[in-house]
Symmetry: C2
Subunit: 441 residues, 2 copies
């Protein structure tokens, strides 16, 4: 039986899970590949910290060149996050002809084109199932299983930290700050949670999904995003009353071009009211989920753990197996990932955010006096925004002279809503910044 040597860069949580699977489940992996798959080198800056895996002697190194310069290592699992030295290491590995398996979404969402071009130049492959949705095989689903479809939309919960915080706010009726603190205490949020809670992590994953589903090249920094810190405990109460949950939703939606116009693509990341009748509305805790609409398959839905040692390692090792048996190479070649020159002539362009359409939830906090409701309704009416339903309630705030208006709109544009809110926020009767969320399902 042929032996395939594998190197691992990054011996953190996921790296430990990958090492455990490759070392402890060697027989299983050999059955799936027909090869003897051997993890021979693990590089990390910290090789002394104890990890929950028994290692062969001499496997650890602090110098990734031990992997780079070993010509017998054909597959490199790169699990270090970031876009600086991590980019350089990956390009060096590709230049040396190594096939890459990675979970580094930031790097792919930032320098994907450079990395994929470098791989193509050397006839190597880059596999990245673990970069989006952890253990959910969403990259394979979109790039292979749904290949016969024109993808119409993707709606996804891609950040377990945010979903954990939002689920807990919903369940406990608590506000953002104390829930974040609790999540940090429990290890579900990082000490610096900015990348998660501000939506950057989700935007990076959405950029990768959009590349493979729609063939667009988008810098993740250009995806409009709103973080979850904008959501209040009261919003969950109103959402529930109306039959909705609140999720940090990544949205990619094809907008059909009229007549000879090209299709356009709406991309956004924002807290969204998600119907409890939709499978996405029932995704709780640290789980991730992806809802995909294809023109042939209709609605399909994928759910699982989006992070954590073993779920992510499951995706990484599946990629290692695919790389070894040759499936990755085929997929990588046929997908023409991020290859600017092979963009189809009828490609899809990004929609201007203000032109995208949807229904909206607005929470306006106003002075409790006669005529206020009419003034707000007047602004919305003049902006062409039609009201679908309305709840008026005494504000939960201490100042009893305020009331909350919860307005659900009919379909309108982001631009119309933003303009109307800017006007509303300037009104004397409006006491705090108006809360706005899109509605899904």
């Amino acid at each position: 039986m042929e032996t395939i040597k594998v190197g691992l860069i990054g011996f953190g949580t996921i790296g430990t899970g990958v090492a455990r699977l490759l070392l402890e489940q060697a027989k299983r992996i050999s059955l799936k590949t027909g090869k003897n798959v051997k993890l021979v080198k693990i590089a990390d800056t910290d090789v002394t910290r104890p990890r929950n895996v028994k290692l062969p002697k001499g496997i650890l190194t602090t110098d990734y060149h031990d992997i780079l310069n070993d010509p017998e290592i054909s597959v490199v699992v790169q699990l270090i996050g970031g876009t600086g030295i991590e980019r350089e290491i990956m390009l060096e590995m590709l230049a040396a002809g190594k096939n890459i398996v990675t979970a580094n979404k930031a790097l792919l969402a930032t320098c994907g084109e450079e990395i994929f071009n470098a791989a193509r130049k050397k006839g190597c492959s880059v596999a990245f199932e673990a970069a989006v949705g952890g253990g959910i095989p969403i990259i394979a689903a979109i790039s292979e299983s749904l290949a016969a479809n024109e993808i119409q939309s993707i709606h996804a919960i891609l950040n377990g930290t945010c979903n954990f915080i939002l689920s807990n706010m919903e369940e406990n009726g608590s506000d953002y700050a104390p829930t974040l603190a609790e999540a940090q205490r429990l290890g579900f949020a990082e000490a610096n949670p900015a990348m998660d809670v501000e939506g950057s992590d989700t935007a990076q994953k959405l950029a990768i999904l959009s590349h493979i589903a729609f063939g667009v090249r988008v810098n993740w920094k250009n995806i409009p995003k709103v973080g979850i810190e904008t959501v209040s405990g009261v919003d969950f109460r109103y959402a529930k009353l109306l039959g909705y949950s609140i999720k940090l939703l990544a949205t990619a939606r094809r907008i059909k071009g009229k007549r000879s116009e090209h299709d356009k693509l709406e991309l956004s990341v924002s807290p969204t009211l998600v119907s409890r009748k939709s499978p996405l509305g029932e995704v709780k805790g640290a789980f991730n989920a992806v809802s995909v609409m294809g023109d042939a398959v209709g609605h399909s839905f994928y759910y699982g753990l989006g992070a954590g040692e073993m779920p992510t390692a499951s995706a990484v090792v599946a990629d290692v197996i695919d790389t070894i048996v040759g499936r990755t190479k085929i997929t990588f070649q046929t997908l023409d990932l991020f290859d600017q020159e092979k963009l189809p002539a009828d490609g899809i362009a990004l929609a201007a955010p203000e032109d995208t359409t949807g229904r909206y939830y607005l929470r306006v906090t106003v002075e409790d006096r006669a005529g206020v409701m009419a003034e707000i309704a007047d602004v919305l009416g003049k902006a062409g925004i039609s009201i679908a339903s309305l709840i008026q309630e005494d504000s939960a705030e201490q100042n009893a002279k305020r009331v909350s208006l919860i307005i659900m709109t009919h379909e309108t544009t982001e631009g119309a809503v933003s303009n109307a809110i800017a006007q509303i926020n300037k009104m004397k009767c409006v006491k705090t910044r108006t809360m706005k969320m899109r509605i899904y399902g």
Copy 2:
């Protein structure tokens, strides 16, 4: 660009969808394969009935030999159901060196080994994503994306007809017979619905999933199955009260062997109380869903349309693409599908149904007199079955002298419950056959 010629056998509902995708979306498929994929021949006994697709002249034939004997056709999509002439045609196609894409679950679940061996002998592949779960890519998920896992269990809703009927019974509080009639009227159930409602279709799909997930060879006829005609409208009422829905659930569950014993596999198809907190409990209408537990990935869940023209065609054409680019060949070779000689020595054996464990829902209809409850409880107690909860209610039947006892048991064995029910059904105070269902989630 190289041209790949495809033949299609069976021009029914799914065949029409496949023809539509291959003919109308040729550009899309060429982008995904890098080849010019051309549907050149469609064979069916009926070539005159109008279908919703525009066909090139001369493409239709009533003689499948026109496909068999065309050496330029390398991929054959075989969409005729059944295990007689269909088996012969498939073996002839494989002997002629054609690569097969099929949705014929009955054939694979009955003669899988013979067909896969015939394919291996000629270096051909057989792809069958569409045979289980329609548009849900569950074959790819289990055989590729979850390859790093030891699968612990599969719980699945695999028959849209049954789920449609059960969902409607639940929603309308109706009984089985009128709901089936309504489903037939709407086209969701066949004139002869036996294969669906008795669980045979589900058992065939479960046999295929079990092959790829656990490496077992099982004749689908040996999978214990209970049909949905056993479920009454009142069962939905009690299930709802207790927080459950009722689904025709396909179950495959690994039972870990103690010490040096091999693992065993529990297989069953039966109406099951499914917790509404589980994603499976919320699957409504004609949708299918599969819940998979892997030892690394944890819980993962897949949902979509399990039948119908375009969802199934989506899976078929994905297989055509995979076959053309070469992924299917790799997967087919590495999976060693149904290859008796390559069975791992530590393979899994089927568990005896009576030894399998679970919690149970029992509905016992008894005479309304003092002491009856004690008699029933005594039988259960002597069988070592412990009661978790109990509801006693006047029977909805006209004879007011009867009451229904709804008993939820703690974990016990199928054998103990079956024996206890046999005794209970013989008691004078018991008025109708006791209803028994497993509980999941």
